[in-house]
């Protein structure tokens, strides 16, 4: 059953050192900023973070990195104009990096959520990112064997959620959230609009409530 919380710190309770944390968002769209800030306060360390990018500027994921809490980043695009925190750690040899093509990153998390043991993917075949990976030619095309990425925790942002935990997103802020929600043992969603059960049209629910363990009601937090 999904817990509806208003305290970000309570939402992050129990995240353990050494966890793999999936963090949603593409650019700032769908970025669970309140949950990331709470994760920084929460203090878990030695984390593996899976996210499309590796932080921007000095806030959010970049602040988590700057606090020295991330052992390894798994992402598709760490290098950006304002990714100086990650860049510095990487060049100093203080953080591991696994670069994964963006679609393969999504598909590996989808596989984790869908109980698929591994899959043969044409993306990246013959490139440096396939080095050391098992490959197989299927129907004349080279494929790389890719394994699931399973999270201990997923931190995502959604537009609206009901008290059972059903979620809908808004425009391209949907991005990684629905996939990450399926791929983690503990999924925590920050939600702008918490609504009553029955307020969401069952045809339009994107993330069914079974995937959501905790909802942080960010509006309630503002009002307090």
């Amino acid at each position: 059953m999904t817990a509806i919380l208003t305290d970000p710190d309570e939402a992050l309770a129990g995240v353990e050192d050494g966890s793999t944390v999936l963090i949603g968002g593409f650019g700032m769209a769908g970025m669970p900023v309140t949950l990331i800030d709470a994760l920084i306060r929460q203090g878990a360390k030695d984390l593996t973070v899976v996210s499309n990018n590796a932080g921007n500027g000095d806030t959010g994921l970049a602040a988590l990195l700057a606090a020295g809490r991330v052992r390894k980043m798994i992402c598709s695009f760490p290098r950006q104009s304002d990714s100086w925190v990650f860049d510095g750690l990487y060049r100093a040899g203080e953080i591991e990096l696994e670069v994964v093509p963006q679609g393969t990153l999504a598909e590996r998390m989808r596989a984790a959520g869908a109980g698929i043991g591994a899959f043969y993917c044409p993306t990246g075949a013959g490139t440096p990112l396939a080095e050391g990976k098992e490959t197989r030619t299927i129907d004349g095309r080279d494929h790389v064997l890719e394994y699931p990425i399973k999270g201990d925790v997923a931190l995502i942002a959604a537009h609206a959620g009901d008290r059972l935990g059903n979620l809908v997103y808004r425009k391209t802020a949907r991005n990684f959230g629905p996939v990450m929600a399926t791929a983690a043992a503990l999924t925590i969603a920050q939600v702008s609009h918490v609504v009553e059960v029955g307020d969401l049209d069952p045809e339009t629910v994107v993330t069914p409530c079974v995937y959501v363990d905790r909802i942080l009601d960010t509006k309630a937090g503002e009002a307090a």
Binding site: G27, T123, K171
Partner: protein, 219 residues
């Protein structure tokens, strides 16, 4: 068919190149435009082209860049710039979006490149510099996903060497994936039979062929 030589003019400017790529996109095609210069192709599609744009961060039916009040932080393109939504648009999550790409459902993808090889190998994600931080984004997914991959780039690097090469020396993005190469000086069609020159701009076929290490044929 033979190579069309546009002489008595210089090479294509950036906007002209985008217009030529736009001209070659079939009516009603589903198209992904890569980050950077490829994005500008959208500005040159005719209003009645029926072309539907995909952005890999989860949208089909993407409209032009958002301006002023249109800017919505939840509505961005793959370059993380604010865009708009056209009637008939749809949203989907990343796994579904890349399934659409990887599954070969998009007709054309337009990408930039550091190098393209004679057999259509693409290098566009990494300069290979030892201190560069690797970052691939969706480049590899796009390179192998669409039915046709168009590349647009300048034909020659600043040091004068051609970026259409016998073999890529930069790290590869995808193998044998580029079908057409649009450059400021010429448009190439790539296939199992090799490289043909469809058009030249400000240079004749013979001079062009002489400046390339890759054998090319008249189109």
């Amino acid at each position: 068919m033979s190579t069309v030589e546009h002489l008595g003019r210089g090479p294509l400017g950036r906007e002209e190149l985008a217009a030529v790529v736009a001209r070659d996109i079939p009516r009603g095609a589903f198209v992904n435009l890569g980050i950077g210069q490829p994005t500008t192709v959208a500005d040159h599609l005719p209003a009645d082209s029926g072309v539907i744009l995909h952005t890999e961060n989860g949208m089909l039916g993407m409209g032009p860049a958002a301006k002023g009040d249109e800017v919505d932080p939840d509505l961005i393109n793959a370059g993380k710039l604010p865009v708009t939504e056209l009637p008939g648009a749809s949203y989907f999550h990343h796994a579904d979006s890349f399934a659409m790409m990887r599954g070969g459902h998009l007709d054309v993808c337009v990408l930039g490149a550091y190098q393209v090889s004679r057999r259509g190998d693409l290098a566009n994600w990494h300069t290979g510099a030892p201190d560069a931080i690797p970052a691939v984004g969706g480049a590899m997914d796009l390179a192998i996903g669409a039915k046709q991959v168009f590349v647009m780039m300048t034909l020659f690097a600043k040091d004068g060497t051609a970026k259409l090469v016998p073999e890529c020396t930069y790290p590869l993005t995808g193998l044998a994936c580029v079908s057409r190469l649009y450059t400021d000086q010429a448009i190439f069609h790539l296939g199992p039979d090799g490289v043909t020159v469809a058009e030249t701009y400000g240079i004749g076929f013979d001079e062009l062929a002489a400046r390339l290490e890759v054998p090319v044929r008249r189109g």
